[in-house]
């Protein structure tokens, strides 16, 4: 079908609408004015210096990184066997397993956060840190399973069968043949789950408290009281990191596989 000028106009409009705000944050983070403003006034790196020297942000950043790494690690650990079973075997209850691993996507994350808070934290079963980690792991598990599943499906079964017919046990074939061959899929699954966990607000919202807070939550709280460009500076830092990750990932496997 011929694509009219109108379509291209809408595409340009959509991109301006999607990317414009980033340009504004970026320029506002160098502004000399005390409150967030656009167009920016003058040029300063003050807000960047301020942000990277505030213990509040540094601690939250560390916690966010820790949670994201641990949760991604556990999600992969839990996700690999399920993805493998789903890709290679047909078994009784396969549909249930598929449902159980996609279920966390369907439940609104705030709802899950509230449930975990009430059942685990308020009843004193787990500490808030542990519950936060559990929550993040659950939320990113479906992404991990889906990405690993598709990379196992892309690996021909014959490769594995060749290893088994040459005398390797199924377990040995898995560790020596399957795992190395899906390493790109595993790395990108890790990156995706890491980003998802790192940026998450709704599940963390109820599972953070004094001393245990992730970066997005601390940013949100800070914004309630201050209206200065330091959040813009922090946002700029995070966006630059994300840009780096997105381009690395694109080099690894192409944009179509990111989502």
């Amino acid at each position: 079908m011929k694509t009219g000028l109108f379509s291209y106009f809408m595409l340009v409009l959509a991109i301006i609408f999607l990317i414009g705000p980033f340009v504004i944050i970026f320029s506002a983070s160098f502004s000399q004015s005390q409150t967030l403003s656009f167009p920016p006034v003058g040029f300063t790196l003050f807000w960047f210096q301020k942000v990277v020297s505030m213990p509040m942000f540094i601690n939250a950043f560390k916690i966010s990184i820790q949670i994201a790494i641990l949760a991604s690690f556990f999600a992969l650990l839990l996700g690999i066997p399920v993805a493998y079973a789903l890709a290679r075997f047909s078994f009784f209850g396969k549909r249930v397993v598929e449902l159980a691993t996609t279920f966390p996507v369907i439940v609104p994350q705030m709802v899950a956060g509230l449930a975990l808070l009430r059942i685990f934290v308020l009843m004193g079963v787990f500490s808030i840190n542990t519950t936060l980690l559990i929550g993040h792991t659950i939320i990113i598990l479906p992404f991990a399973v889906r990405m690993i599943h598709s990379s196992i499906l892309n690996l021909p079964v014959s490769v594995e069968e060749a290893a088994v017919s040459l005398g390797a046990s199924r377990i040995k074939a898995f560790f020596l043949v399957v795992l190395p061959n899906i390493s790109v899929g595993l790395i990108s699954a890790f990156i995706l789950t890491f980003i998802t966990s790192f940026n998450n607000v709704p599940i963390s919202l109820f599972l953070t408290g004094p001393g245990v807070s992730t970066l997005p939550i601390v940013m949100l709280t800070y914004m309630e009281y201050y209206f200065d460009p330091s959040i813009a500076a922090l946002a700029t830092i995070l966006i630059v990191i994300t840009l780096g990750v997105v381009f690395t990932m694109q080099k690894l496997l192409g944009v179509s596989k990111i989502i």
Partner: protein
């Protein structure tokens, strides 16, 4: 079976059971037994009822506008012949999805604020004399949500439109259909699944989003999510918070099922 057992037990113990327990607590009160009273009282409360319908209303408009902008935009993306340009455009649309939602929403403060871009522009143009309040309005929440979720719509539409062979349009045209008819009879039905999936993602996303209504709407434009947070963390009314959570969950399930039925999609 042994392979899936640890993961399934993890999901059941740490997710399914807490959810069921909390849901149970909302309808079971030891002395009186089972009751649906909390749910009635939710809809009797004017503030809660307004927040509920406001959430649905804003989510509806967000979805509609997302379709209106994304459909032509996705058609344009699909028709780009240059591969590296196409990848670049796709990256630009995916980028917002990968960035921190707090950072993303923050930008709108600089655009919609009292001394923000739009107010400055309008005063400079002479439309207004004084800055007008744009933040903490339903419009602000709508714009924020649209920017947040439009990439999901574009992604699902692009993947739907890419699977339609170009020949079909040529065939329709050669059989005498005009451009409009080709669109209605060929392109639209074939991209229906993309529309439904995108619509589900945008609609449910908008109903459950917290950050955007919290920053751009505040307590002036309460939505279901911000009301839930208020009840749980400010007022510490756990029962009400749970009731809101259940209503939120059931609403998203219902919308999911409804849209799938409309689109005739059977597979999950």
């Amino acid at each position: 079976m042994l392979l899936v057992l640890p993961t399934i037990s993890f999901v059941v113990v740490f997710f399914l059971i807490p959810l069921l327990m909390v849901f149970g607590q909302s309808v079971y009160h030891p002395p009186g037994g089972w009751t649906l009273w909390p749910y009635f009282s939710f809809f009797q409360d004017r503030v809660a009822r307004e927040a509920y319908f406001r959430s649905i209303y804003i989510a509806f408009w967000t979805t509609l506008f997302a379709i209106f902008i994304s459909y032509p935009a996705s058609s344009a993306i699909v028709s780009i012949k240059n591969r590296s340009l196409k990848t670049f455009v796709m990256t630009l649309t995916v980028l917002p999805l990968m960035t921190n939602p707090v950072a993303r929403t923050f930008a709108w403060l600089a655009i919609l604020g009292r001394h923000g871009l739009i107010n400055k522009l309008f005063i400079w143009l002479g439309v207004y004399k004084e800055p007008v309040r744009l933040l903490y309005t339903e419009g602000a929440v709508f714009v924020g949500l649209l920017q947040l979720f439009m990439p999901l719509m574009i992604l699902s539409l692009v993947s739907a439109l890419e699977n339609i062979p170009e020949d079909l349009f040529l065939a329709a045209r050669s059989l005498g259909a005009n451009g409009f008819k080709t669109f209605i009879k060929v392109k639209l039905p074939l991209s229906k699944e993309g529309l439904i999936i995108g619509g589900t993602l945008v609609f449910t996303g908008s109903i459950t989003a917290y950050v955007t209504p919290a920053i751009l709407g505040g307590s002036k434009v309460l939505m279901l999510s911000t009301l839930l947070y208020q009840k749980a963390s400010v007022v510490l009314d756990w029962n009400m918070a749970t009731v809101i959570a259940v209503i939120m969950f059931l609403t998203t399930l219902f919308i999911n099922g409804l849209l799938r039925r409309v689109g005739g999609i059977r597979k999950a």
